[in-house]
């Protein structure tokens, strides 16, 4: 039998998946390198960050009972090209183009506030702190679109135990990285930077709340909040802070960026709730990312479908008032 070879491409010529996925970063990096050569050494520190993006590090994960079954993950392409990450531009496609500038090594997360003593964790130590689990979660943006994302990480509670918070700690605040050289887009939007988010202690300790390092079995692409972020699947996406550099345990409800910017639109809790409208749009339905336009509309679930696990956290609370 004659078996034809399909083409003449040697396997050594095939671009690796990681290089392919980072082709824009590579091209921009190459262009920048050219500019650098012309403009002199001062620009070198601008061209350098692409190092951090190049590595699509594989993560060894174990399955988890807390993963949501029966839902199909959104494509890697969509998860990594449709992002709200205003540090890298306000258009959904901006972060994929611009986030290569983010330097994710060296990276530390400092812990302060109501803790036994201040600590600083190196990102590589955090990666090894607990076994990495795959958690497939629904992701619902306050803008009424949704995805399904196979995140990789471990429960934030595991990390909090290492932080040794005092009993006076009632809330946890997460502060994202802020750097005008790597994130010049910050200047385009009037928000109080750095990006700040927060959870009540019991929400933070809930096993579903994930300290996240990767998706689809590889290290987080920069635009998805590398190198470490939180994911709170029953809340609107903006509650899940990206690129975290500081975790602060506090006595009182911390300032949170969007809530501060428009308290009538973005509550501190921001639990996914189809019966409480955003002032400018209904939250009853969501657009499923990646679906064809004529069947993208889907009903939004209370607590994004995680009510069985989390509703008890809010027993007796008026969720209309505490939206």
């Amino acid at each position: 039998m004659l078996i034809r070879k399909s083409n003449g491409i040697a396997s050594s010529e095939i671009t690796s998946l990681s290089d392919y996925r980072n082709r824009r970063a590579f091209m921009q990096g190459a262009a920048l390198a050219g500019v650098t050569a012309l403009a002199g050494a001062r620009l070198l520190d601008v061209a350098a960050p692409r190092e951090g993006v190049q590595a699509a590090t594989k993560l060894a994960t174990v399955p988890s009972k807390l993963s949501t079954s029966g839902i199909t993950p959104t494509s890697f392409q969509d998860i990594t090209t449709y992002n709200n990450f205003y540090e890298f531009g306000t258009d959904k496609s901006d972060p994929a183009k611009n986030a290569w500038r983010l330097q994710t090594r060296p990276w530390t997360v400092s812990v302060e506030g109501e803790v036994k003593k201040k600590k600083t964790f190196d990102i590589d130590a955090l990666l090894k702190l607990r076994p990495m689990e795959e958690r497939i979660y629904r992701h619902r943006c306050v803008e009424a679109w949704s995805m399904v994302i196979p995140w990789d990480g471990y429960s934030l509670a595991e990390f909090i135990k290492e932080c040794e918070p005092l009993s006076t700690a009632k809330y946890v605040q997460f502060l994202s990285y802020e750097n005008l050289n790597q994130e010049p887009w910050i200047k385009e939007i009037s928000l109080d930077w750095p990006y700040s988010e927060g959870l009540r202690m019991d929400e933070a300790m809930h096993p579903l709340t994930l300290l996240t390092f990767g998706l689809y079995g590889q290290a987080l692409p920069n635009q998805d909040g590398a190198p470490v972020r939180v994911v709170v699947p029953w809340k609107y996406g903006f509650k899940s802070a990206k690129s975290i550099v500081k975790v602060r345990f506090v006595k009182k409800q911390p300032r949170t960026t969007w809530n501060e910017s428009a308290p009538n639109e973005y509550g501190f809790y921001s639990n996914v709730n189809p019966s409480v409208d955003h002032p400018r749009w209904s939250q009853k339905y969501e657009r499923v990312i990646g679906a064809p336009f004529w069947k993208a509309r889907q009903a939004t679930l209370m607590f994004n479908g995680y009510g069985d696990q989390v509703a008890s956290l809010y027993a007796g609370m008026d969720l209309r008032k505490n939206f």
Partner: protein, 209 residues
């Protein structure tokens, strides 16, 4: 410009105005509308409605630059009607893709969401202007009254820009460019009017009693 040339040019401009729709349909068929096609369709139709509206508002200031640009007026109606056309498609995305023809939900949105109210307000004005865009309408209404009615386009354009500001998140400044263009186009009219008034009063003063 000769009539013949204008008619010829219209055969080019008209299909050119349909290019954004053509691209939208082509991208739809080839699955190129990105991860959130509904948002993409909404944004594109909305932007083009606004661009055509601003283009139609640019005709008069351009015409005043030089007497040899007077023929531009012959394209104003076409641009205005295309603004209405894209505004209709934009409205349809809301009626169909966002509301799935749920009248109750739409009524609720209309009452409760100012950006929807102001958007529909702009569309209703454009509807009235499109309906009275024929020569017959000009004759029936009379030139003065027709012109007075069609000045509502300033209101429609302002409402459209407010509609844009009210849908972006607080702090986001992306609508500033179209806002700047609209402000310039409106200021040019005020400046022209002021100049005209000054010229007329001066003319009155210099005429001996």
């Amino acid at each position: 410009m000769k009539n013949r040339w204008i008619r010829g040019l219209k055969w080019i401009v008209f299909p050119a105005c349909l290019v954004p729709l053509g691209l939208l349909v082509a991208d739809g068929f080839t699955n190129q509308l990105g991860p959130d096609p509904v948002a993409e369709i909404t944004h594109r139709t909305g932007f083009w409605a606004l661009y055509f509206l601003l283009a139609s508002l640019a005709i008069t200031p351009l015409r005043r630059l030089h007497s040899r640009l007077a023929w531009l007026i012959r394209f104003r109606r076409m641009l205005g009607l295309f603004a209405f056309f894209y505004a209709c498609l934009h409205l349809l995305t809301w009626v169909w893709l966002f509301s799935e023809f749920d009248l109750h939900a739409m009524a609720h949105d209309f009452v409760k969401r100012p950006f929807i109210t102001v958007g529909i307000f702009a569309w209703v004005i454009l509807l009235a202007l499109a309906a009275t865009s024929t020569q017959w309408a000009v004759r029936t209404l009379g030139g003065k009254r027709w012109q007075w009615l069609h000045r509502a386009v300033y209101l429609a354009a302002t409402a459209a820009v407010i509609h844009y500001w009210w849908i972006v998140k607080p702090g986001v400044r992306t609508p500033w460019k179209v806002t700047a263009v609209l402000v310039v186009l409106l200021l040019l009219r005020l400046a022209w009017k002021a100049k005209e008034t000054a010229r007329k009063s001066q003319a009155r003063v210099t005429v001996p009693a």
